[in-house]
Subunit: 97 residues, 2 copies
DNA sequence: CAGATAATTAGACAGTTGTCTAATTAAAGA
DNA sequence: TCTTTAATTAGACAACTGTCTAATTATCTG
């Protein structure tokens, strides 16, 4: 799992987008109207999330629908567990980001 | 849990520091010699980790020892689980960063 | 106290990030 | 095809970040 994932999670707007998507797939416009921010700025955040593979996109007519990619979320959890778990029971698991 | 935590995790050097600390407490110098980076730069990373409350520090003579604060790590995991878990079984859990 | 060692703080600077407005692309419908 | 709607791309710019060298602080020891 890449550095891109952690960098993507480092912005509060993007974390809120992920939270909204956890309730189910939403269109770019639907997401954008929840924030006091221009659409291009939102579009930028979608791009960052896409590049980190945290979300998937699908076009339907004029609209683009985004949805969560839970696989990568699991990878982040595994990384954290590796650190956290290693504290309890030291083992040969290592290898960083 | 604050934005500081995610920003702290967004840098590969800091994630590697956390990984080293998962093996047990280490002094600033001991950590610094593992990286090809000046000591002041390392010191900066320690400060960021401290401000995010991801690590604790303790002085012993001239040396300062850093150790992992697993509590905050657990908070990050809980945040991720909230997103990830909500996907499987939708419930009233929400509230962002 | 003077010198050595461990670590931090101060200040500078290049590169990255998040935001905006303006322009562009893509699709649907009259 | 022209217009409208949905969304992105382009380009600019201020703010933030990670790094460095130089200076400073804190502690130990002779």
């Amino acid at each position: 799992m890449s550095n891109e994932v952690f960098k993507a999670l480092a912005d509060p707007t993007r974390r809120e987008i992920l939270r909204l998507l956890s309730q189910g797939e939403k269109s770019a416009g639907e997401l954008a109207e929840r924030f006091e921010m221009s659409k291009p700025s939102m579009s930028h955040h979608f791009t960052v999330l896409k590049q980190a593979d945290l979300v998937r996109q699908r076009r339907e007519g004029q609209q683009i629908f985004y949805s969560l990619n839970t696989t990568v979320m699991e990878d982040v959890m595994a990384w954290l567990w590796d650190l956290f778990g290693a504290k309890q029971k030291p083992s040969k698991r290592s290898k960083s980001s």
